[in-house]
Each structure stands twice: as structure tokens, then as C-alpha cells.
Symmetry: C2
Subunit: 297 residues, 2 copies
């Protein structure tokens, strides 16, 4: 019996203008957010939508990649597709020609993320449940089948992943208390890079009133004193019990990251995000070793 078949894959290039410095950080100053959107058409009113973020320029490249990668989904029924979605993901990424442009990198990576989001969206809509519910109702085996663990089986085999999840099954119900209490979020908009001190203080006050207890500040200024002054401002405005995080958006060299992370310690950060080149795994490990975390990490 047919479930719900993907008949067509469309993309859409949607761009939105930001205002007054919203979205600014140490390396991105454009005032645009854009989404490369995937639409999985089924010939019914149930369709799957996925998005991925870019900063505008080049968004159409991601859209083109979505349409090219998406052709291999056409004709699939959604339940068949999701049954062993890890393999589907691998074969999508491993397209014999397009993988040269990726496979999990840049434009192709972004396109894959938009497509994957759309597949999950269509699946949940087909089943008529929220995606979180759908995922919670899967067995550990079904959940692991959604993932592509290729290349990491020396660290985590399929069997080990299933075991990890199985071990946590007995306490799952207790964790569902967040359905009532809510899941704590953080406010990432209080401290964009170009915001002045007054605005940051105002934003934190408003966010505190809304119930937020965690706040992220953009750092990575060429003027390190500015970063430190604003970090202190956020800590003071948010209070000693708040979680505060700093995001350098890859701006620092390793040496600079060591200096700045050390200097920022006094404000008890919950994390420092993208302190240096995001792909330099060893630099991150060395950074952790040099900068003793003072917070709950």
C-alpha cells in the first residue's frame, strides 16, 4: 500500500532584511538573513518543508543544490525513506558527482540540511504527530537507523549507539517533565556585535522580564577592551545566577583565543563559542587544556 510519495522537490530563495545591527557579529556585517527552502511535494496537501540559513548572497546556490540533490528522492514513499534514513543520507551525500563539491561541506552541506529537515517534516506530518513525539516513540534501533554513522564507527558503532539509548529508556518518562516545565532557552539577540551598551542593558532587562535566564554576547572585536567591557556589562545586567555565553564567530587566532578566553573567565561564561577556526579540532582541545573552565562545563 502506498503511504505518501514524494513527487517533486522544489526550492525557494527567501531573503529578509535585518534592521539596526541585528544579526551582526565579529565577521558577518551584512544585514540580511536568508533561507534556502526545500519543499517536498506529494500531490496532496501534506507537504514537507525544510530550511537552512544563509546570509543572503549565494543563497540561490544552495537552492540549486537542493534541486539537484532532491531529484534522487523523487518516487520515494515517506515511510520507506525514513525506515533506513541513515543510508539515504549517506547516499544523498555520496552522489557520485556532487560529492566532489562537498560532501558535507559548504553549499552542498547546507542543501543537505534543508532537504533532511524537509524529510523529517513530511514524516511527522504524515503520521500526524509533532516531530518530537514521533522521535520519542521510536525504539533505539529505529532511532539509530536515522543516522549515518559512517566514518565514526571507530568511536561509536551502531551497536554502541543503540546501547546508549537503551540504557536511557527507563528514565525517559521522567525527562518528559519538560513538556510541562518547558525547555530552557537562551536569548541570542541581546548583544549583537554593533549594539551599544545601553541597548544591551535594555535588551537584557526585557529578556529577564520574559523569563530568560541565559544570554549570549557577540565578542571577537579587534579591540579586546571592548569585548571585556561588554562581557562585564552582560554579567552585571544579567546577575550572578544567569548563564552567559560569548561567541567569537571564528575571529581569533589560536593565540588570541587563549588570551581572550583566559581574560573572559572572570565573568564565568557557560561557553565561548567558535573561539578560533571551527575545523581545528586540535586547537579546541589545546584551548580546553590551557584555559581551565570555571563554569559548569
Amino acid at each position: 500500500m502506498k503511504t505518501l510519495e514524494i513527487k517533486r522537490v522544489e526550492s525557494a530563495d527567501r531573503r529578509f532584511t535585518l534592521h539596526d545591527g541585528a544579526g551582526s557579529d565579529a565577521v558577518h556585517s551584512v544585514e540580511q538573513y536568508a533561507f534556502a527552502c526545500t519543499r517536498l511535494c506529494t500531490g496532496t496537501s501534506v507537504e514537507g518543508f525544510g530550511i537552512t540559513l544563509t546570509l543572503g548572497q549565494g543563497n540561490q546556490l544552495v537552492c540549486e543544490a537542493i534541486e539537484q540533490l532532491g531529484t534522487s528522492l523523487i518516487g520515494f514513499e515517506i515511510e520507506d525513506l525514513m525506515r533506513d534514513f541513515g543510508s539515504v543520507m549517506r547516499s544523498l551525500a555520496d552522489d557520485s558527482a556532487l560529492r566532489w563539491l562537498g560532501p558535507h561541506k559548504g553549499v552542498l552541506h547546507l542543501a543537505l540540511s534543508s532537504i533532511v529537515n524537509a524529510c523529517y517534516d513530511l514524516w511527522a506530518k504524515y503520521r500526524g504527530v509533532p516531530l518530537w513525539r514521533l522521535l520519542l516513540d521510536l525504539t533505539p534501533e529505529q532511532l539509530v537507523n536515522l543516522l549515518d554513522l559512517s566514518y565514526i564507527d571507530d568511536e561509536l558503532t551502531v551497536g554502541q549507539a543503540i546501547e546508549l539509548l537503551s540504557d536511557l529508556l527507563p528514565t525517559r518518562a521522567a525527562r518528559e517533565s519538560i513538556l510541562k516545565s518547558g525547555y530552557p532557552g537562551y536569548d541570542t539577540s541581546i548583544g549583537w556585535f554593533s549594539y551599544d551598551d545601553t541597548r544591551i542593558r535594555d535588551n537584557i532587562r526585557k529578556a529577564l522580564d520574559l523569563g530568560f535566564r541565559a544570554f549570549k554576547l557577540k565578542v571577537g572585536s579587534s579591540d579586546s577592551a571592548r569585548d571585556l567591557r561588554r562581557a562585564e556589562l552582560v554579567r552585571n545586567a544579567a546577575g550572578p545566577d544567569a548563564k552567559i555565553m560569548f561567541d567569537a564567530n571564528q575571529q581569533w587566532s589560536f593565540r588570541c583565543a587563549v588570551q581572550m578566553c583566559s581574560a573572559l573567565q572572570q565573568f564565568d561564561p557557560y561557553w565561548v563559542e567558535e573561539p578560533t577556526h571551527p575545523d581545528d579540532v586540535n586547537a579546541h582541545a589545546r584551548l580546553v587544556a590551557r584555559v581551565v573552565p570555571s563554569g559548569s562545563l
Copy 2:
């Protein structure tokens, strides 16, 4: 005084059909090579050309990225551009919006490489010398100024790079003997993945007649016995003094790479290329530790 100004940046999407399994490897089976080409137009007959390779599909994405990135080169004079080309490269890659799609990844990375090639080509043509000559005639300081060393200054500072090159200056003339003797190349076309044994043997014989003494074989078969049989064939056909290399094109998991690299040792490989995920730096380090190299590496 004006030198030579870049007035327009064009791209071209050029695709070529391969025949009879040429170009095949363990993960790429398409029979097409394509080039995303950059053309730096100057309004004179002296133009700069650069290329980057793809496997066809998606090549137009790289071409679009070339044109978008290339706009920032317009109006530059070639000598000004190359004087501090390391900074130019960094600012090209760090385009405030497009870096989100890269910066040194996938489509954007490929586009950058094509553009960079074209800049060097235009520079050498403007000076009326081959590029190798131009580079050899630069001082260590000028050479290092061509490079973007950001993010690696904890391993190699600009000063250290200049010192490395300066130390080698006294022996440079001796190394120019390769202008007479030639630089040894290797034949990468003797053993494409889909070639049968007879064809590989024939190819090696022909390449030996042409003077080649180094040969690369595509491995990474799901049938490991096939890899080993073909590796032995290449060693036997090439002779004990030849250099032979194997290329797995990322096909192996880490565990598989350990097994296969160990098994291939008996054929004394000069290198094994892309034994596993190319970005897994730690896996490569662990692989070297586990598989003791028998060759000159």
C-alpha cells in the same frame, strides 16, 4: 602609473566526456571531468585564466561563485593585487556574506582556487615570464606575502616562514638542476578503478617506455582481495625499483583503513592516498602510528 587592471571577471563551464572507465575510482563513477574556469579580462590581449576540477554535475555552481567572488577583484591592478596577495586571499574568502557558504569549503573553496590560479596566471603573463620563474625570483618576504597564514600562526608565523625560505636560499641554484633533468612525475592513469588486469599491465608497460617510474592505482574496492591482487599486479609490472601509490578516495572507515594499509604494506607503497575521511586529522595520525611505513615516507 597603471600596470594592468582587472576590468571584468568571467566564468566558463567546460565539461569533457571520459571514455572506457578513465577517471573511475572507488567513489566516483561518473564519466565526466569538468572545469570551472575563471577569466580575468583587462581590456588588453593579456588575460588571466584559472581552472578548478569538478566531476561535471554542479560545475555551474562553482562558476556562479567565481563570478560573485570575482566582483571584488574588479578595478585592481595586477601588481597591486599580488603585492600582498595573502591579505587579498583572506579578504576574498572572508566575504561577509559568502563566507557563510564556505569559506574554505566545497563550492566556494573550488571557486577561490580557480580565481587564485587566474590571478597568478595574469601576473606571470604581465611580467612576461613563466610563473615558476616569477616565483623563484621573489625574495622570501615577497613569497610569504602571497600566503594567508591566518589561523596557523601558532604553528608557523610569518617570521618563521621567511626564515625557512631564507635558510634555503643558498642552495636554490643547485636545485635548479631540475630545469635540465626534469621533475619526476607519476602516472595516475594506469590503474583507474574499473580497468581490468590486462589493461593495467599494458598501461604500465607503455608508461615505463615513456620513462615513468612511478604509478598510482585506485583501490577502495568492497572486495579487498581485488585491491590486493591489483596492488601485487602493479608492483610486479612496475618492478621493484618503481614507486607505486594507492588511492582509496576516502572509501575506508578508520578500522578498514588500518586493515587495508597493513595488508598493502607488502607491496611497499610510497603512499596510500585518502585512506579514510579526509578531514579526520586524528584518524590519519593514528593510522601512521598503527601502520609502520615501510617506504621512504
